[in-house]
């Protein structure tokens, strides 16, 4: 089975290297697909479908597979690592040529990835990394750089506010990598401006309701000193906007609101003038993932991490982008 598909793999790889594989954002890329009757088979183990970001990621992988004429074996683990492990085991049994994995957690992958390696199947990780004893257990990790996202948001706010702001930071789930890194990047970006003060930094657990509750409380504690809100995701930013409005403030005008993710509803909020800026955390990893799969199958050595470039949207470029949003 595997040997049979080798020729097709080579064909696909050629098609891919022919099309420019620039790791830049959405769409683009994508070869003409493998010719011939049988198809290249790739397994994709997804964590779940609990939010639009993840759904968009899944759709991106599915669409890219269809575009390239690759047969995709898709497994939704519904938030369970055990389900991901058994899905990978069944991918091996089905003789897939490569596996794309969006790991639920960082640890506990050693054993199963060794089985995959023994079967000589390359693994491409998407959006989250793993901690394994042997770095050759996976080909590469394709993910956004959360620190860079935080830094972009911070730099934008420094520029927008003229280097003077009283900031409320709404952190993501305590201990989660995106929360830690987005905080680190943002705080590094404002560190050079002594008048950029973080008045309070509390977790809203990436939830809209918690973002609103926390913001309600912090408005009472800090009042008019608040001139900016930095939220680690769009959901919390929307919650904060609702709380600000209820308190008679004007989010987007007298309070600058900055967030990360670039979801469709955030673009709507920018258009309405209530959100000032969102840094995209692009879930459309499909094209890059299949580029990496093709290279790995060709035997090319890949860097251990490929960074998905993220873009920043504010009132200048968001309205034009809104119709293109897929998530």
């Amino acid at each position: 089975m595997k040997r049979q598909s080798f020729l097709r793999v080579a064909g696909l790889a050629a098609a891919v290297s022919f099309s420019a594989c620039k790791p830049s954002g959405s769409g683009g890329g994508g070869g003409g697909g493998a010719a011939g009757g049988g198809k290249l088979v790739v397994g994709f183990s997804q964590i779940g479908a609990d939010n639009p970001w993840r759904t968009a990621e899944t759709e991106s992988v599915k669409a890219e597979a269809a575009k390239r004429g690759i047969e995709l074996k898709f497994s939704d683990a519904q938030g369970q690592q055990e389900a991901q492990i058994s899905a990978i085991r069944s991918f091996i049994a089905q003789g897939v040529s490569a596996i794309i994995l969006a790991p639920k957690v960082e640890t506990g992958w050693d054993a199963i990835l060794k089985e995959v390696k023994a079967a000589k199947i390359p693994v491409v990780l998407v959006d989250r990394g793993v901690t394994v004893s042997d770095p050759t257990l996976f080909a590469t990790l394709i993910a956004s750089d959360f620190v860079a996202e935080g830094r972009m948001a911070g730099e934008w706010l420094v520029k927008k506010s003229g280097g003077k702001a009283g900031i409320i930071q709404l952190e993501g789930t305590t201990g989660a990598a995106p929360a830690n890194d987005r905080k680190k990047g943002f705080e590094a970006a404002i560190a050079g401006s002594p008048d950029m003060k973080v008045l309070a930094s509390q977790t809203g657990d990436f939830k809209r309701s918690d973002g609103k509750n926390v913001m309600e409380a912090l408005i009472k504690a800090h009042g008019a000193a608040i001139t900016a809100v930095y939220a680690h995701n769009d959901d919390m930013a929307i919650g904060a906007i609702q709380a600000l409005e209820a308190a008679g403030r004007q989010p987007g005008k007298d309070v600058t609101v900055v967030s990360i993710d670039g979801m469709g509803f955030a673009f709507e909020a920018i258009k309405e003038g209530k959100l000032n800026c969102t840094v995209e955390c692009n879930p459309l990893l499909g094209p890059m993932a299949f580029d990496a799969v093709a290279k790995a199958l060709k035997g090319e050595e890949l860097p251990k991490q490929l960074v998905q470039e993220d873009r920043l949207f504010d009132e200048t470029n968001a309205p034009a982008e809104l119709p293109n949003r897929k998530y």
């Binding site: 939010n51 912090l218 009472k220 308190a247």
Partner: protein, 329 residues
Amino acid sequence: MKVLRSTLVWPLVALVVLLVFNAVASPGFFHVEWKDGRLFGTVVDIFNQGARVPMLLALGMTLVIATGGVDLSVGSIMAVSGAVAAMQVNAGAPMVQAVGAGLGLATLLGLVNGVLIARVGLQPIIATLVMMVAGRGLAMLLTGSQMVPFANRSLTWLANGSVGGLPVPVVLVLGLAVVTGWVLRRTAAGLFIEATGDNEKASRLAGIQTGGVRLAVYGFSGFCAGLSGVLEAANISAADPARIGDTRELDAIFAVVAGGTALTGGRFSLAGSVVGALLLQTLTLTLYNQNVAPAVAPVPKAVVILAVCLLHSPRLRARFGKRTQPVAA
């Protein structure tokens, strides 16, 4: 009545200590102003945010725990009712119908818990654990795992509006608590619940339909969770099936226990649970106000919770001494 009063003392003491701390440490904590026709301030937030989830869930949970059971499914039931209400208004249904549908389904799920426990004989922790998993799944299934935003003014009013200057949820929930307390203490219902939790066999032999009592308390707990889910969705104008109510059952259990209702069943204090919920919410807002780093915030929280439980424990031991067997196993 004496017992009721004395169990209420400890959460009240903890609450007062916390409030005194805030009076000293956070200036403006008690500042309440009149803004846009309603009260505005941290204390109002404590009541508002506290009423919407912990207090409401604790109302139902108190009665469940009084029968010697526990309801772990309330967070998931919140997700279901919020999703149903949001989808109903999006389909053009009037607010009352949408809320009714959400509450109806939530009550039904609560009754399913009751049937599994009272008729099939499952352990409450297992039956409601099943519902906790199944309810979340149902909410995800109904919504296709996506957040359901809505723009229905009257539904958002339920959480964001005000009546006589007070937030609607506070009026609704305190009203529900008073009515529930009044009904339970003015009729024999409260006694039946306590008797069922105290000694089910003896109660049945005395002619109490303990199965019916259990069915009713789980149904009521489902109803409270349903209302909480609707209010949470109304608050942010969107139902979030994956995350509404997540782990909030633990807040409810804490509020009940802090309020002096023992997990062993047989006695309950609704007023205590209300105070317990307020204590929990005050604690949360105090940590925000003091800007305690989120990573370490659970520690002071745990210390206060432990302190309240320790304050209760001598009473518990005294109570164990008086009774022979608190739970019909």
